[in-house]
């Protein structure tokens, strides 16, 4: 009988215990990272609008003449790049802090999220490298989608293109299904294959980008399905709680005669949903940190284990 499922049970249990034990620290770190990223984006766009007046400003009526829109686009891209640079190194710091908490280090503080700031370029490079590799794995899917789009455009009337009697229509029905299957066969395993690269970089920042990806591939060999099953119960529980919250609040509001439409925009529901989602995202992150440590332990057994054997 396989023991990977049992390992997942213990991983989730320990992640829950650790999350509860260090909840305020983890919450502080996560909110710090989120707040800084949002602040950078907001400040960047605010400056951009002040500097250029926005792409629809009254002075931009002659776009080609004053180039306002081009300046706005370039500024927008620059803001995005700066935000991604800073958020990737802050995420690296957050992951590093979580790993230390998992190892039992009680001295970790919220300021630990800034410990990997000097690796911002490397973490940005790692994100780009992984995005490129995932994009390459997804090329067959994009090719099929492109072919379908081309087929619909070439056929003229979409209704005619989808008649079952024509060969083109038959292909246009089969190909989207094939694309859907390929997403699950190629794209999702690719995402899980490179999942631990950030953890490797956070744990050992001197490791090169390609070495991080190679180590992640080696660690995830035979464990991708286990990693997928690790967080599925947490996601299901989170959605069940969110559903329950929505149901309870809408029942309360309907019992008091308030229109159910208000539930959708109720600030109370939004805040509660955000808190629940944040808690479960922290727990999922802790699960993956413990998962990484377990894979690391298997690849590099400690000297005590080797001498015992």
């Amino acid at each position: 009988m396989s023991n990977l499922t049992v390992e997942n049970v213990y991983t989730r249990h320990n992640a829950k215990q650790l999350t509860r034990q260090h909840f305020w620290k983890l919450l502080g770190m996560t909110l710090t990272v989120g707040a800084i990223c949002v602040a950078i984006m907001a400040a960047g766009f605010a400056l951009l609008f002040l500097a250029t007046g926005g792409p629809w400003s009254s002075t931009a009526h002659n776009v080609a003449a004053n180039g306002t829109i081009y300046a706005f686009l370039l500024g927008w891209i620059a803001v995005i790049i700066i935000a991604v640079l800073i958020s990737s190194c802050l995420s690296l710091g957050l992951t590093s802090a979580m790993l230390e908490l998992c190892r039992g280090d009680e001295t970790v503080t919220v300021a630990r999220v800034f410990c990997r700031m000097k690796y911002s370029l490397k973490s940005f490079g790692l994100s780009l490298w992984i995005a490129l590799k995932v994009f390459l794995w997804a090329l067959p899917v994009y090719a099929i989608i492109g072919f379908v789009g081309f087929g619909i455009a070439a056929a003229g009337d979409p209704a005619n293109a989808q008649t079952i009697q024509s060969t083109a229509g038959f292909l246009l029905m089969i190909l989207p299904l094939l694309a859907f299957i390929l997403i699950f066969a190629l794209l999702i395993p690719a995402c899980f294959r490179y999942m631990l690269s950030a953890h490797v970089l956070a744990d050992e920042p001197s490791t090169g980008i390609r070495a991080c990806v190679s180590q992640s591939k080696a660690m995830m060999k035979g464990h991708k399905w286990q990693a997928f099953k690790l967080v599925v119960p947490l996601i299901l529980i989170m959605y069940a709680i969110l559903f329950g919250l929505t149901l309870v609040i809408s029942l309360i509001l309907s019992a008091t005669g308030v229109s159910a439409v208000i539930v959708v925009i109720s600030p109370l529901l939004s805040i509660l949903s955000s808190v629940v989602s944040l808690y479960f995202s922290i727990r999922c992150s802790m699960c993956f940190c413990l998962f990484y440590l377990k894979r690391r332990e298997e690849q590099n057994p400690s000297p005590a284990d080797e001498s015992a054997e």
Partner: protein, 364 residues
């Protein structure tokens, strides 16, 4: 629910999956016999009832067709009189009561026999297909157990139902908001109490199937004792199997609809009925697995019999507490989990449920 109960559930599901695969055709034959005999009895009794009530049914049909042909309000009274003659006749009630009792007795006896075979299979034995008929002499006791647990469950229903009725009464007196609150509270209370009651009495049938000499009330009391602090575990036990069954049914349904639309048969009634049958068949394996799973849960909660073979997982998993991760990582290394003991002792074939081959174990 402790992590040990979760791990126990994992092992129970894996063992149930192995047992179902190993004895699939025997188990499906047993359930087919139960279903076929019950359906045959219901059919025969229905036909017998139709024959015995032929005159009354014929008079109702005649009165109804006369009303539809004349379309006059004065023709309603003969039709209503014919309906009243039918539904108020002692013969009608007697036939229906006999139907309920006979089908209840038959299905209870067959269920006890089926459950006995599943329990014996869970203990390592070979299921006997005709063993479903082995508990027919306890059919009256089984039926009595069903009635007793049903009565107790209905009693647990009453508080919530009472609140719902109270809420409806309040609404009739123009207290709509308060009435709404009371109805909502009553509905929640009803579901909570009924589900708790169903879980509490869930082992009674297994106890009677395993030890048919026990009394009805003794089985119920024993079930309550066994399910103390185990209800949530029991509830969670079958959820993954039910989710898988639903996923497979949805996948088969979507694939079938897609194929039918390709063939231009999406509006064909026969094709849709065949698709429905295929969807139902796709769920049979999981339903059988659930039956085996609940039988294994029952075995796990009882003390293992001294002379029966004990599967390796019947040993209680060790209690764990929150410890540093390094200790946890070292303790739950691949070599420490009881898989190796299972490979030596378990008579069951070694099947791998995971989609990928697990990692290589380090050399000792």
């Amino acid at each position: 629910m402790s992590v040990n109960q979760t791990v126990e559930n994992v092992y129970l599901r894996q063992e149930a999956s192995q047992i179902t695969r190993k004895h699939f055709w025997r188990i499906i034959a047993m359930s087919a016999i139960v279903y076929a005999l019950t359906a045959l009895a219901e059919y025969l009794l229905t036909r017998l009832g139709d024959l015995l009530m032929a005159d009354e049914v014929q008079s109702v049909i005649s009165a109804a067709s006369a009303y539809m042909n004349s379309e006059r309000i004065s023709s309603v009274e003969p039709m209503l009189a014919a309906w009243a003659d039918l539904f108020l006749s002692p013969k009608f009630w007697g036939i229906n009561l006999a139907f309920m009792i006979l089908t209840g007795l038959l299905s209870s006896g067959l269920l006890l026999g089926y459950t006995t075979q599943l329990i014996d299979t869970g203990r390592g034995g070979m299921p006997k297909v005709l063993g479903v008929l082995g508990r027919m002499r306890y059919c009256l006791k089984g039926w009595g157990l069903g009635l007793w647990t049903g009565l107790k469950t209905i009693l647990w229903l009453l508080p919530g139902l009472g609140l719902i009725i109270l809420g409806a009464e309040l609404q009739m007196y123009d207290l709509f908001e308060l009435g709404n609150w009371v109805i909502i509270a009553g509905t929640v209370l009803m579901f909570a109490l009924v589900i708790q009651a169903l879980l509490r009495y869930s082992q009674a049938t297994h106890i009677m199937a395993d030890e048919p000499d026990r009394g009805i009330r003794e089985c119920v009391t024993f079930s309550k004792g066994m399910m103390k602090n185990r209800k949530w575990q029991y509830f969670r036990l079958g959820v993954p199997v039910i989710l898988r069954m639903t996923g497979v049914a949805l996948a088969v349904g979507f694939a079938g609809e897609f194929i039918l639309s390709l063939a231009g048969l999406e509006a064909d009634l026969l094709a849709m009925q065949i698709l429905q049958v295929i969807i139902n068949i796709s769920g049979i394996y999981f339903l059988l697995q659930l039956d085996v799973l609940y039988a294994l849960f029952y075995i796990k909660q009882r003390e293992p019999a001294a002379d029966a073979p004990v599967s390796y997982w019947l040993q209680k998993p060790e209690e764990i507490s929150v410890r540093p991760v390094s200790d946890w990582l070292a303790e739950h290394a691949v070599t420490d989990l009881p898989e190796k003991a299972a490979e030596e002792e378990s008579p069951l074939p070694d099947t791998n449920d995971e989609k990928e081959t697990p990692h290589e174990q380090p050399d000792c």
